[in-house]
């Protein structure tokens, strides 16, 4: 059943992505100042939203774990953090490529870019911490605490362009930036297939976490002989 749901989601995502690529490359006009490169925003921004949503879900799952000590929440937090890291990497890389054309540089230690990189590294550290601790309960407890604290960076990333002087463009959603409605809508339209992909990745990762639990139990059983 889960397999069929995943295939259905992948098919819908593929159709939506194909349609979005057609519209953004052939229907939408170039931006007056940036030219064609502005289209990166249709992946750059939804990838960031997906990553933030994943990190938020990880924080909620971590709080629930700390409250109830149910290892299923820990598995969910680990799975969703990893998916968030993939989308966060896509966000950082597309941003660098856009910056190379618009700013003439690949990277600058601007508050938005720096806070995003720091956030990504903290969550990468979360994944490394999980690998370093053998005991499942200890691993779950420590990584849940780290996940809750790591989320403190997400509002800093979001508000960095409001709090400090930055060369990153102002946000077009809830900020000083503006965009033509057809381009603005594409941001949300292209977010849907990315969310579907994130959902599929999450389902695969959850199944892997389940397999891993089974594996750990079998290992303990084998060692008991």
């Amino acid at each position: 059943m889960r397999q069929k749901v995943m295939i259905g989601m992948a098919a819908v995502a593929a159709v939506l992505l194909a349609r979005d690529l057609y519209v953004m490359l052939l229907k939408l006009p170039d931006e007056a100042l940036q030219g064609a490169i502005y289209r990166i925003i249709f992946f750059h921004v939804p990838a960031a939203w997906t990553a933030f949503l994943c990190f938020f879900a990880a924080m909620i799952a971590s709080i629930l774990y700390l409250k109830g000590r149910n290892l299923k929440y820990d598995a969910f937090a680990a799975a969703v953090t990893e998916v968030g890291l993939a989308f966060g990497a896509a966000n950082l890389i597309t941003g660098m490529i856009w910056g190379r054309i618009i700013w003439g540089i690949w990277w600058t230690w601007d508050p938005r870019l720096t806070s995003m990189l720091v956030g990504w590294l903290i969550y990468a550290g979360y994944m490394m911490l999980r690998r370093a601790i053998e005991d499942p309960t200890e691993r779950a407890r420590l990584s849940a605490v780290l996940s809750v604290f790591a989320f403190a960076d997400v509002p800093i990333i979001f508000f960095s362009i409001k709090w400090w002087r930055t060369q990153h463009p102002q946000p077009v959603v809830w900020g000083g930036g503006s965009m033509d409605p057809s381009m603005f809508n594409m941001l949300f339209t292209n977010w849907v297939p990315l969310l579907l992909l994130a959902g599929i990745f999450l389902m695969i990762r959850m199944r892997q976490e389940q397999n891993q639990r089974e594996l750990d139990a079998l290992r303990r059983y084998v060692h008991a002989f």
Binding site: Q34, I40, A90, I93, I97, Q208, L215, L218, R219
Partner: protein, 62 residues
């Protein structure tokens, strides 16, 4: 004209990079899946062998 070409080239790189990251992640998920399944099968066989051994040993003792 040259700037437009450069713009499109970097747009292509950007889209390619975004999808490459996600594709690499999918490949890593698939590889991990295969590894976990292999390990699960190996351990299940090991458990069956051990149980058979213990059963035979127990029967021999009786």
């Amino acid at each position: 004209m040259e700037e437009t070409t450069r713009n499109f080239t970097y747009l292509f790189y950007g889209l390619l990079a975004a999808w490459t990251v996600l594709c690499v992640y999918v490949v890593s998920l698939a590889a991990r899946d295969r590894k976990t399944k292999r390990e699960l099968d190996r351990l299940k066989m090991m458990v069956e062998d051990k149980e058979r051994e213990t059963g035979a040993h127990g029967a021999g003792m009786r």
